[in-house]
């Protein structure tokens, strides 16, 4: 059985004079670790309510989460409530705020969909529950050797503090009714934009996909791409200078002449659907196929991948240190790792998000679930996808975002 560790807790609930009395909490290790075996965890999970905080801007994903919530409710009596976020940072800031306020149990976030700098922020501040991943029975079907990003989140080792959920790789999509030959490099994209003014744009950073576009452009323009795998350190400006030169010359040819940017990736896709632009990109290779299946995009949309390769990563589920239902969260995370849930997620009509599981580690009948999946008309083949470029070290993110804001948002 799991036992909850106890910490000294300070309460300051009297409103009067609270301000003067508010102490800065002593630093210390807050993260809780799971104890006991899986059966005990499942027993404790029964009846728990899990507030699953995740980006909620895509109805197809929301529908998938709703399906999974119904399954786990029926299968394990765990009630999952999807708290739809406009930006994952909202939930991260809430967790940090709760820590600062001394709320070490009964936090508002029980499970969070996360990766990259958000994970790095929580992990470095010791605000995660775990390590728990090794306890999940379905994690044995993941092969970190085959898919290194399942245990390396933007070069930061996950160390069991997050459970892989899906694979992502930057893929571009174009409307073949309007674009004859898609631009397969940043240089080609610029000449294409010059010839087709106003027909391309990207989400404004700090939207994660907007930031990823900056990273991809950085990879293709910087002199020494291996430099990006290490912390920014000194001379970061030298590595990024060609990127800003590139963007300075690209922006005048963008949608709205670069004076405005869509706020999110789905807004960018909406622009293609509305005929305002011709090219968009997503982290999910099946994005366009499933959007076509749901009548969100015309069926003339097709995929392409930059010839230099594109950035790939994994997105994860993590449990905050003060989760009010860590057992329920683990049970739900394990269900989402199951071949059944992973295969459904990869279906082009559902979400089209590639699995983190290793086919070699599945039973034949489990493998068949994946082999039977139809590949959508706008989903690139594994050969087209190629080997993903690793994410730059997460310290590049704030550098890029801040500089972008300074340059293009005023």
């Amino acid at each position: 059985m799991m036992r909850r560790t106890c910490w000294p807790r300070r309460r300051f609930l009297t409103a009067a004079g609270a301000l003067a009395a508010l102490p800065v909490l002593a630093r210390g290790s807050w993260a809780r670790t799971p104890k006991g075996d899986w059966r005990g965890i499942r027993a404790m999970a029964r009846g728990q309510v899990v507030h699953f905080n995740g980006w909620g801007g895509d109805q197809r994903i929301n529908d998938y989460i709703a399906w999974a919530a119904a399954e786990i409710k029926a299968g394990a009596e765990v009630e999952v409530r999807h708290v739809k976020l406009a930006d994952t940072a909202e939930a991260v800031s809430r967790i940090i705020a709760e820590k600062a306020a001394g709320r070490v149990t009964g936090g508002s976030v029980d499970l969070i969909w996360i990766n990259g700098e958000n994970f790095a922020a929580l992990k470095s501040k010791d605000l995660l529950f775990g390590p728990f991943v090794e306890l999940l029975p379905n994690f044995r079907k993941v092969d970190p050797e085959e898919k290194p990003t399942t245990v390396l989140d933007f070069t930061v080792p996950t160390e069991g503090y997050e459970s892989p959920w899906g694979m992502a790789q930057l893929v571009f999509f174009y409307d073949s009714a309007r674009v004859k030959e898609p631009p397969r490099s940043m240089a080609a994209l610029k000449s294409w934009a010059e010839a087709n003014p106003g027909r391309f744009t990207y989400p404004a950073p700090p939207d994660f996909l907007g930031t990823t576009f900056l990273k991809q452009a950085l990879y293709e323009t910087t002199a020494d791409p291996t430099r990006l795998l290490h912390p920014t350190g000194q001379n970061a400006a030298m590595a990024t200078a060609p990127l800003w030169t590139y963007l300075d010359s690209l922006h005048p040819h963008l949608w709205r002449k670069g004076a405005a940017f869509p706020r999110s990736s789905s807004e960018m896709r909406q622009l293609v659907a509305d005929g305002e632009t011709d090219i968009y990109f997503a982290f999910n290779p099946g994005d366009a196929s499933s959007a076509i299946a749901q009548d969100l995009l015309p069926d003339t949309v097709r995929a392409f991948v930059p010839s230099a390769g594109s950035i790939g990563n994994t997105h994860f589920l993590a449990i905050p240190f003060n989760s009010s239902a860590p057992e329920g969260a683990m049970v739900f995370a394990d269900f989402l790792l199951s071949p059944e849930a992973q295969a459904r997620k990869e279906h082009a009509d559902v979400w089209g998000d590639p699995t983190v599981l290793s086919m070699a580690r599945l039973e034949p009948e489990e493998r068949k679930l994946f082999e039977d999946l139809p590949r959508g008309i706008a989903t690139p083949t594994p050969e087209e996808l190629g080997k993903p470029l690793p994410e730059p070290h997460s310290s590049w993110v704030p550098t890029l975002e801040q500089e972008w804001l300074n340059r293009y948002s005023a």
Partner: protein, 562 residues
């Protein structure tokens, strides 16, 4: 004496809440908040804030959108009133129809309306799609609307939403003036009716609706939901920027966020000051115009009336299409550019959204009902106790009740949020509901005050003579007689609560999702059909509330008053 103290205690509630909020935004704005590691006063938050890219443009867009929208909204509201109900009662025929449309527009929640309008005016939106039927438009024009950097699309949305609000505020106030007599005097002096209305009634009417006008101006400066959908994107408006900063994972950002909230308060006060200065200036400029003795409209009068009418007509078309857009989307199978109408009709979006709709629907409704009940009880107690204080004190009390609508809500709500954070409390249902009450209460109070004062005192006097206790008189005489006003106030209270966005976001602690917040969260792209479902549901709930109130009031009015 006891009654007066009880009344003062009631008045103190909104006053103290706002004061607490402002104190807890003031301290962190100057670097002091131990729970977040700020132990001494400093100007660092302001330095951080000033270093934020695009702060100036954000302030500019905020101010421009509000100061462009408000005069137009006010002018249109007065023009509409002069045409629809110059004497306080809607004229029959087309004016009555227009009044009904305006009440429809008023009842449409801000979020849903803004989403509809955004779809309408976008370059690939409905207007261009309709135009594409006759014009050879194959690709949408590359125009920067909505989200234009000066906030003019936002201003358009604010005009359309504030105009009906000011119209109904003015209509209520008009009943306090003896309009028919004044118009008769004007006519006997040979003034043409339209001109008489603007020369004799409008100036006195304005003095009566100053509070709603200030509230509308303050709202325009802090409307986060409308700014998200229609306002500039990078940088956004000040209010939106403040909310964004509180979502930053770096908690140290709360200090500049508090500074920004305080700056927003200063901006609100500045805008009110500018407005007040304009009032004085316009009053002086108009004085000669009002007393020039001209009895029939000159060419300029006629032209401006024509221009106003054209603008009002345009507003009606835009408003109607914006309201229609969301229900239409919710029923669309697909709706691609440049089609003027969707491939109708499919219930697929409703079927898909329904399971997810339940929780926000429950939150929205439970909060709205609780808050409205609380506000109604408060307002009844307030009005019952108010008779023990002087008229001047009474007016001061009502101004304090209206403060949440005038003071920058961004500022004091953020203060309350920081206070909660300091107390180790996360938001939730109760903080959300209590913060809603602050905004719902003034509307309920104002809606109830007028009928309350106008009830014939002889009913109560007779009951007292028959030996009934004051409480019994209230419960069995006054309240039943005021049932129509009570249900209308309740419907209004529910409508306000259901539309609130910012308090829910700041006080909900991420656990309270309402129809309004979900509609906005989903609107960041995704699926317009699903956004249509949420927006339509929200509007339907509010409309249903007003319809029920109307129905109850009609049934109740007959036996009691005839």
């Amino acid at each position: 004496m006891r009654a007066r103290i009880a009344w003062l205690a009631l008045v103190a509630v909104p006053g103290v809440a706002i004061l607490a909020g402002l104190v807890f935004v003031l301290l962190p704005a100057f670097g002091y908040f131990p729970a977040l590691g700020g132990t001494s006063l400093s100007l660092q938050p302001w330095r951080d804030l000033l270093a934020y890219p695009g702060l100036g443009s954000a302030a500019r867009a905020t101010l421009i959108s509000a100061l462009v929208a408000m005069p137009i909204a006010l002018g249109l509201a007065l023009l509409a009133l002069a045409w629809i109900a110059p004497l306080g009662r809607a004229r029959t025929g087309l004016p009555l129809l227009a009044a009904k449309f305006l009440s429809w527009l008023l009842a449409t929640p801000h979020a849903a309306f803004a989403l509809g309008l955004a779809f309408l005016i976008a370059p690939s939106g409905w207007l261009v799609r309709i135009a594409a039927r006759v014009l050879p438009i194959e690709t949408p024009p590359d125009l920067l609307v909505p989200h234009d950097p000066y906030g003019l699309s936002l201003a358009a949305g604010l005009v359309l939403k504030e105009m009906p609000f000011l119209f109904f505020a003015a209509l209520t106030a008009l009943n306090q003036l003896d309009a028919p007599r004044m118009m008769a005097i004007g006519a006997s002096l040979g003034y043409q009716p339209g001109l008489a209305w603007f020369k004799l009634i409008a100036p006195r009417l304005y003095a009566l609706i100053r509070l709603p006008v200030y509230a509308a101006l303050a709202y325009s400066l802090s409307a986060v939901d409308m700014a998200l959908v229609l306002g500039p994107a990078a940088p956004p408006t000040l209010a939106l920027l403040a909310v964004d900063l509180t979502h930053d994972p770096d908690l140290a950002r709360r200090f500049p966020a508090a500074a920004l909230a305080l700056a927003h308060l200063a901006l609100t006060l500045m805008a009110l000051g500018i407005w007040r200065a304009c009032e004085l200036f316009v009053a002086r400029a108009l004085r000669t115009l009002l007393a020039d003795g001209v009895r029939s409209p000159t060419l300029i009068w006629r032209w401006s009336a024509q221009a106003g009418r054209a603008l009002a007509g345009l507003g009606i078309v835009f408003g109607a299409l914006a309201i229609l857009a969301l229900p239409l989307w919710s029923l669309a199978a697909t709706w691609r550019f440049p089609k003027a109408l969707p491939d109708c009709c499919a219930l697929a979006a409703w079927q898909r959204a329904l399971p997810d709709l339940w929780l926000p629907f429950r939150h929205s409704l439970s909060i709205a009902l609780f808050v409205t009940l609380l506000a109604l009880i408060g307002a009844i107690a307030w009005l019952q106790l108010e008779r023990f204080v002087t008229h001047r004190t009474r007016l001061k009390g009502r101004t304090i009740a209206a403060l949440p609508l005038i003071v920058s809500d961004v500022a004091f709500l953020m203060g309350v949020q920081i206070l909660l954070l300091g107390l180790g409390l996360v938001g939730g249902w109760l903080p959300t509901a209590l913060s809603h009450t602050l905004f719902v209460f003034p509307y309920v109070l104002l809606a109830l005050a007028d009928p309350w004062a106008r009830l014939d005192p002889r009913y109560e006097r007779s009951a007292l003579c028959l030996g009934a206790s004051p409480l019994r008189v209230l419960v069995s005489v006054r309240l039943p007689l005021l049932l129509p006003a009570l249900v209308f106030a309740a419907a209004l209270g529910c409508a306000v609560s259901l539309s609130l966005y910012l308090p829910t976001i700041l006080m909900g602690g991420g656990r309270i999702t309402t129809l309004a917040t979900e509609a906005i969260a989903l609107s960041s792209g995704g699926d317009r059909r699903i956004v249509g479902v949420y927006g339509t549901t929200l509007a339907l709930v509010i409309w249903a509330g007003f319809f029920a109130a109307y129905w109850i009031a009609r049934r109740a009015a007959r036996p009691a008053l005839t």
